[in-house]
């Protein structure tokens, strides 16, 4: 008897929780239903058509586009570029961002100037970044070519954006430069979220700063790390902006990404049907990778 009333009490509590959760989630759900659901369904529907994107006539082709996609070398090359960018973005942006944040957290107010200047790249628009890096990476008067020439004593040309494998890595470098400041701020907020008494207790116990970071802060920042990695992962898989301004996917597709490929097909080559298929494929791939990542990196969820 006692047990039963307990479960019913638990049931009531669970129901109440569900209702409360629903109420909190409702505004977000509404907006998502208006602006997200239709585009997603629409994309999948269009992917079953051969359509130039503007005509009122479209031809139903079933899975034809999907069959093409599976064998489309351009798409899988682009996917590979995305994966390379993803790996390097996570390897560069997150650790550097973490280091910078740790430095600032340790230094406190005296390092405000560092903080503000380090943050500048994130504030610059992709247009300005693309312009400046086009010149900075240029063979003629660019920073790298000039430096190499000074070091070697003769004129050296370092062609970073114009050749096949280099271009992708040049872009990765620029991306890291642009986005690291965000992760810096993000981890600073993470540090800010740690109870200051924990730090004080650790120091009283004789821990050094390094030990505090390694043994206490980083484990506490677990969920923050995981989300940062997820953000970087998804961000690099659907990346568009800077590439579009810097290389437009060139030279010879060597920096083509899924998103730029999709954009060209849909809006420039009158191939909306297949473009939508690429978009849908991209959506599926990114979601699967992101969810796998969520599963693989289990962090202790404290509640």
């Amino acid at each position: 008897m006692k047990n039963e009333s307990n479960t019913s009490l638990a049931n009531v509590k669970r129901k109440k929780t569900a209702v409360a959760a629903g109420v909190f989630l409702l505004p977000a759900f509404l907006l998502i239903a208006i602006y997200f659901i239709y585009p997603i369904i629409d994309t999948f529907v269009i992917s079953a058509y051969k359509w130039n994107g503007i005509s009122s006539a479209r031809t139903f082709v079933g899975l034809e586009n999907w069959k093409t996609l599976i064998h489309d070398k351009n798409f899988w090359d682009a996917f590979e570029h995305n994966i390379i960018i993803m790996v390097f973005s996570i390897m560069l942006q997150i650790p550097i961002g973490m280091l910078l944040a740790t430095f600032l957290d340790a230094g406190g107010k005296k390092f405000n100037a560092f903080k503000i200047i380090w943050f500048l790249p994130y504030l610059m628009s992709s247009v300005a970044i693309a312009f400046l890096f086009t010149y900075a990476l240029a063979t003629n008067g660019g920073i790298f070519s000039s430096l190499a020439s000074i070091i070697k004593g003769t004129k050296v040309t370092i062609d970073l954006l114009g050749r096949s494998p280099h271009a992708l890595f040049a872009v990765i470098g620029v991306m890291a430069w642009q986005y690291t400041p965000f992760y810096m701020v993000y981890f600073m907020a993470g540090y800010g979220n740690i109870d200051t008494t924990i730090y004080e207790a650790a120091i009283i116990d004789g821990a050094t700063r390094g030990q505090y970071v390694r043994l206490i802060a980083i484990p506490l920042l677990g969920p923050i790390f995981k989300t940062a990695c997820t953000m970087s992962l998804i961000g690099s898989l659907k990346y568009f902006d800077l590439i579009w301004n810097l290389t437009q996917g060139g030279p010879v597709n060597s920096t083509e990404l899924m998103a730029t490929y999709m954009y060209k097909l849909s809006f420039q080559q009158f191939n909306m049907g297949y473009g939508s298929c690429v978009a849908a494929g991209m959506f599926i791939l990114i979601t699967v990778i992101a969810l796998l990542f969520q599963k693989v990196f289990v962090v202790k969820e404290d509640y």
């Binding site: 380090w118 790249p121 008067g141 701020v185 923050i224 953000m231 659907k238 998103a259 509640y303």
Partner: protein, 286 residues
Amino acid sequence: MQTKTVDYKKEKRKSVIAWTIAIIMACFWLVLTLTPFVFMVLNSFRKQFDMLQQGVFHLPDPWYFLNYVEVVTHGFFGYFFRSVIVVAISLVLMLLISAFAAYPLARMKFRFRGIIYAGIVALMSVPMHVTLIPVFKLTTDMGLYDNLFSLIGPYVTFALPMSVFILTAFMMTIPKELEESAEIDGCGRFRNFFSIILPLSKPGLSTLAIYNGVATWNEFAFANTLLQTASHKTLPLALGQFKGEHALDIPIILAVLTLSVLPMIILFIVFQDKLVKGMMAGAVKG
């Protein structure tokens, strides 16, 4: 404890070396982040011809200030204020709504939690360009085409998945005990949310404000698609006035970009304090 005292000197020396290395690396990173910015600003004080002839990484010679006059006389402040309005409204809405949504995901146990969470991740994966046509259709159907406020819906919505995702992670790090004690006190979920969770999420919220604020401030694609009259356009579209099919005045464009980044820098300087302030500052009192 004993070894600590013995190693005290060694520790100290180690720490000095560590700090020296850290400062050197910090300065290196400083140069790396500052240089492009400085050249953006410097080049905005030149004529295009001088810039091209002397090279982009050259000091202005002579200094040329009329680019800024040109920018300001081409309706810069109009673009600017419209952007301020859109970004401000969008930010408030998106922070509030995503905090609402993140709260149950982070701190309640209910049936579809896992699925909803996965759904949020899936929504983050939607490539932005597939939404252009549907959002355009929707906006014209609602009669909001060429209306500044048509941007708010898409801006808020497309920032939601990422924001909910981040905030959920932040709210998870808030110690469970704080909330429970509140519940025992008789607070309802809502009071709990407003009086404890929301204030404690300040670092998360301010990160989001920065992330979404910058993104919205620079947003081009939706603004370009949904607005058409010059007097309704936002700041990122102001560049178009100096950029044609075959004409491009780079220094003026850099002047526009410099002017548009300034307020963001000022805001960051003013509010960056909020980022590092420990959460307990507000929580213990509350």
